[in-house]
Amino acid sequence: MTTPGPIAAERGKDGRLHLRVLSGLTPDLKPNKDGSPWYARTFRITSIRIATQAFFFALFVFLLWVTWLSRLGGYPASLFLEMDPLVGFATALSTHTVYRWLWRGMFILIPTLLLGRVFCNWVCPYGTLHQFIGWVFNIRSNKNLIDKNRYKPLFQLKYVILTIMLVMAFFGSLQIGLLDPICLLVRTFTVAVAPAFDISLAQTFPSLAFKPGLQEPRIFAEAWFVGALIIGLVGANLVIPRFFCRVLCPLGAFLGWFSRFALFRIDRDVTKCTDCDLCLKGCEGAADPQAALRKSECFVCFNCIDDCPEGALSFKLTPAPIKDRIVGSIKAGTATLFGQKVISKLHDTEIRSPDLPRRRWLFSAIAGVLAFPFLRLSRAVNKRGFNEKAIRPPGSVAEAEFLERCIKCDQCVNVCPTNVLQPATLAESGLEGLWTPVMDFSVGFCQLNCTLCSEVCPTGAIQKISLAEKLGLEKFKERGPIRVGTAFFDQGRCLPWAMQTPCVVCEEVCPVTPKAIGTYDETITRWDGVQVTLNKPYMRPELCIGCGICERECPVVDSAAVYVTAIGETRSDDRTLLLKGPKRA
């Protein structure tokens, strides 16, 4: 029993190696020592917790899996993002509103106020992933584990991160999505895990593919970076267990701050506790259950209760402080509580608030105040210097408001049927807009009849729009269709303009009526004397909606002769192209 872990080998009495995992599987249906039936043993609260974690992880992956046009139906595809109370709170700070389904954050907040950070070890799929990886690849001895699970001042860092992000959100720059575990994991699945699965295992089981029925695999800008990030963060568990959850997670910090109000907490009976520290062996949150419980760190995983050989730990409704009720001296060995001998060293019974000194809170706040202008002054996201390739999906709010709302979760990128939506790199949007959705028409085009991205966006960065609204039909006739940009011709690369070669692909594919691309038809005598008719294309900017299918289909594939930039987009009053309002035929 020296090496815990799932597949530790032991030498049995017969001298042969036995795999513990296998011997553990043999059913032992005898009643327990205390006379309770055998299934009470398998019904331990930690077993229920593991089942719950597996359920939520499966639900999380399932909801990402159904985020596809042929499967979406009415599934709450962005449920986890909507239940994330940090998303709701931070967008409320930045926009002063709570969008659509974000009230679902109460589903997590209320249990936190009652029970503490149960989310972290019961629901959060990212936490489950970290715990699972840490368990599978664990090589530490119990003694080593106890040491690794003690609280460390490094764990304050998450409160610094949270404070900086919330202060920035207050000023109008929403950055929680960089590290919020749900946003991070949705993004990782969308950009790296799901496409990787689809080009490998899904080749053998096509019906399991995240994106079935595609001729070409989906590609994403800088997928390697998103993939490397998750490998790094998950790998950090091998150095510090639950590294992300304890050190970085802003949602954990947010819930940790709220868990000070929790009515229930782990309680240690000092008359039973022998100070053996075994409760630390499986402590996920590094919450010091062996001493004064750090309520803000406790994940309520119940491992400590399971591991306590003395039955000294329990989960109780607001235990009364006991310090004042002890009679006698512990040092002298005469201390008693309600007549029972106190054998454990006595600490404060709980530490409610996060362990971040006031001056560090202050420093974090100042850092946030400074970070906002530092990011916003970058040319890419500034009003005066927007990037022409930051083409936002239809229904997006204007850029400043967009940055107040977008949590970089990339659910829109996930659902996009043509792969046109891409996570922005530093080039298009700077650090502030990193991983926000932009359209890359060399990869796909904006499907005319599709409004799926607006449907799945949890925060309203892409507002929910109807098809009629997108196309400017019915009651939206007056305003016209939503434009995401305007197409331009590069006559130096265009086959009819520059190379005496007939081509009308862009005009043919233009989906609007009347077409936004017209042609000057001209018959010329080519260099070799052959008569050819050239349909030289031109743009009618009043009609172009910037869907980019012309750029996607242009035969000059490496750098298309017709390309879309963001100018003329409906969502912005600053980026209009034409003086008069666009006319509708």
Binding site: Q203, P206, Q215, E216
Partner: protein, 336 residues
């Protein structure tokens, strides 16, 4: 001391092993096993990889006693398939337990089965059941249709029929093709081939409908292998008969089944009107696809007064089959 010596020998042995292994891999002539040697860079060039099918294809040993053609007439597809295959020796002659069997139907077009442009899904299902009853460990169904694969497999009823009968369905994806070498072929000596369903396959069975064809006059079991090729197949039109003769050379099946339950006797290969389809109620099984096709030409398409299309002669010249089916042993059977 003893321990020390043992440890030294062990270490020395390991070191020598590594050195020899590295030397072998890098220096042994490149045709030796496990050699990685590539003196002129030719071996490492991409795109040189190509496939070859087994030397004698997937054929079983010929028999001098059994009939060449098994013909069954009737309605019940299970009985039809059993009788036709039974006449040429029974499924046990062709499929042994643990065989992995690929069945190639014709799913070329997005048409309902009743329109006769694709293999009858009921016949396919009956054939799959028969092959499974012989103990095949896996049955696969694959085709590279003309139109969008997913729609063709769905609309023709082939996907449902195959899966319900217990087969795995392979529809083509771009990565599923690899260059196949067919020595002696005129046009497709090296051509992209739908190889993925072939991985690990030990037997191949073709099952093709009887169709009129605008270009090559008749599309039956030999023309059916067209659906295993990729690339720009429209180039083939320039010499369609030469291509079909190449197809006969490329794939030597275990046996073929000519599905004459419906006959698309004009407007082929696409058809569309039920008026172009007649019920044939016939199946032909043979190890010789040319003989089966020749039978279909004269008895099912009922064109016995017309000369056979040119690809028959071109294939027969290569010794790939016998086109004069009347000289062969034919066993006919009427079933329910």
């Amino acid at each position: 001391m003893n321990d020390d010596r043992r440890r030294f020998l062990k270490q020395a042995g390991l070191a020598a092993g590594v050195a020899v292994g590295a030397g072998w891999a890098s220096l042994a002539p490149s045709n030796w096993p496990l050699s990685l040697r590539d003196p002129d860079g030719e071996r490492g060039k991409p795109g040189r990889r190509s496939l070859v099918l087994p030397k004698n294809g997937y054929a079983v040993e010929a028999s001098s006693l059994l009939p060449h053609l098994g013909v069954s007439r009737g309605v019940d597809v299970d009985l039809l398939v059993k009788a036709a295959v039974g006449a040429i020796g029974g499924i046990g002659r062709f499929v042994q337990p643990r065989d992995v069997v690929l069945i190639k139907p014709n799913v070329a077009f997005e048409r309902a089965a009743a329109l006769g442009a694709t293999t009858n899904p009921d016949v396919l299902a009956a054939l799959i059941r028969l092959v499974r009853s012989a103990g095949a460990s896996e049955v696969r169904v694959a085709d590279n249709p003309i139109e969008s694969p997913e729609s063709c497999f769905a609309r023709s009823g082939i996907r449902t029929a195959a899966i319900e009968a217990g087969a795995r369905v392979f529809t083509p994806h771009p990565s599923d093709f690899s260059v196949l070498e067919t020595p002696g072929a005129t046009h497709i000596a090296r051509w992209p081939f739908f190889w993925r369903p072939f991985v690990g396959v030990t037997k191949v069975i073709g099952v093709a409908p009887v169709k009129d064809h605008n270009l090559c006059r008749a599309s039956m079991t030999t023309k059916n292998w067209y659906g295993l090729l990729g690339g720009r197949r429209n180039q083939f039109h320039q010499d369609i008969h030469g291509i079909i003769a190449d197809l006969a050379l490329m794939l030597r099946p275990t046996f073929v089944v000519l599905d004459g339950t419906r006959v698309l006797f004009r407007s082929g290969p696409t058809g569309g009107s039920l008026a172009d389809v007649k019920l044939g109620g016939t199946l032909v099984a043979s190890t010789d696809s040319l003989a089966a096709d020749a039978y279909g030409w004269s008895e099912l398409l009922e064109r016995r007064d017309e000369a056979l299309p040119a690809y028959f002669a071109k294939s027969a010249e290569r010794g790939l089959g016998i086109t004069d089916w009347k000289t062969l042993r034919v066993k006919e059977e009427q079933v329910a």
